[in-house]
Symmetry: C2
Subunit: 213 residues, 2 copies
DNA sequence: TCGTATATACCGAGTATTAGGTATTTTTTT
DNA sequence: AAAAAAATACCTAATACTCGGTATATACGA
């Protein structure tokens, strides 16, 4: 029997951390030798334990995953790091590659893919999941009428809300939708009232929290 | 031996979903009888299986957790729903209570608390974790110098960035920090350049993605 | 068909942000 | 002590957002 792949997992969401560890431990060729809730704890752990693969969440308090990864790589250049994250931007993958990280996966992948990527990385390969910008345009289809009713929004308003969430200005939105800037302003104004937020930033937050961007 | 508590888990992050299910299954008085990746799937599942407790994520694509919960409660008024979420706002708990949901927990709680809350809810109690606004002020202490260096930001800039992330206007920030609005503008301008974002909204996004708010 | 909801467009006045600067003081580092 | 970095303050002009309105055409349901 070949030796098990030794893994340390770092994530601040404790439920996710524990769940993931159990999931990995159930695989017969993986062994979770440690877990940490933030970058600092992870560095501490690495003083005592040397894993083959380090699974690291980005977006953690105390010490951000990217910074922690940087430090880890400086200290242990041959340690293979797999990054998990919720957000994915166009430049993120490039940044991670430059850092010397061996792989990236979004948090909504299924476990089978995770397992195979861990094996691949252990074997010296790399794997970077591409962000799917053009795919999943979050069109009308995915928006239930329930969502509209719940927030008392109309289709057109949500359409504009998405554009606001994607950081377009009123005049840009007006151009894009072939309507007057006054109309865009009106819709924005109405949404601010309906959603009970203070200003455009509130709409931006709402869009982000409801995955409208 | 008393009967096990039957549970269905709904979450779009597949890794989290699988991990959580395994975690729950390992407890001897829980039995996971189903899992779903969105509200629609959950409603489908409930046609065939009746759990004692439904664990539901908010913030899902296809069908949002809150809407799904509403529908579920209409169909099965006696089903106990426990909501998990990453974001927590002041009004969220109130909304959930009004809906008839039995409990709320943030996603970074540890498993022990989750287990005990599931038991409590099963026993007819409710549990709503209070949002901790004043706590965790994300002060200078939690911000590593690494973070500053990585993004080439200064302490003062991050201080202002946090306030921008918390939706304060330049003039409000100026008042709060006892400095001129011009100074705030300068810092904002510099950060927009340093972080390579388009405008204030970009800063808002950056703040949000880096947990600065 | 009649009302309601929706989408559209406009006005004015005030406030905020943005993109170019320049420039001084304070703090930190060498 | 000198140099570099950080924080401070100011200017102008353009653009964007906000809040108080009003108003019309169109689509949709009872």
């Amino acid at each position: 029997m070949e030796p098990k792949i030794k893994i340390i997992v770092v994530d601040d969401h404790k439920l996710f951390l524990e769940g993931l560890c159990v999931l990995l431990s159930k695989q017969k060729n993986f062994e979770v030798i440690g877990k940490a809730s933030n970058g600092k704890e992870a560095l501490h752990l690495l003083n005592s334990f040397q894993p083959d693969v380090l699974i690291m969440d980005l977006n953690m308090p105390i010490m951000d995953g990217q910074i922690a990864s940087e430090k880890v790589i400086n200290l242990y250049p041959f340690l293979k790091i797999l990054v998990l994250s919720m957000y994915n931007t166009v430049t993120l993958n490039a940044d991670l590659k430059k850092l010397g990280i061996k792989g990236y996966l979004p948090k909504d992948t299924d476990s089978e893919l995770l397992f195979s990527v861990i094996n691949d990385i252990y074997d010296g390969k790399t794997y970077f999941k591409q962000p799917l910008e053009p795919c999943l345009p979050k069109n009308e289809f995915t928006l239930s009428d329930g969502f509209l009713k719940k927030h008392n929004l109309t289709h057109r308003e949500v359409e504009i809300l998405k554009l606001i969430g994607n950081n377009f200005s009123s005049s840009q939105i007006a151009t894009k939708l072939y309507i007057s800037i006054f109309t865009v302003d009106t819709h924005r104004k109405n949404m601010i009232q309906k959603l009970n937020v203070d200003n455009k930033n509130g709409l931006l937050n709402f869009a982000k929290e409801n995955n409208l961007s």
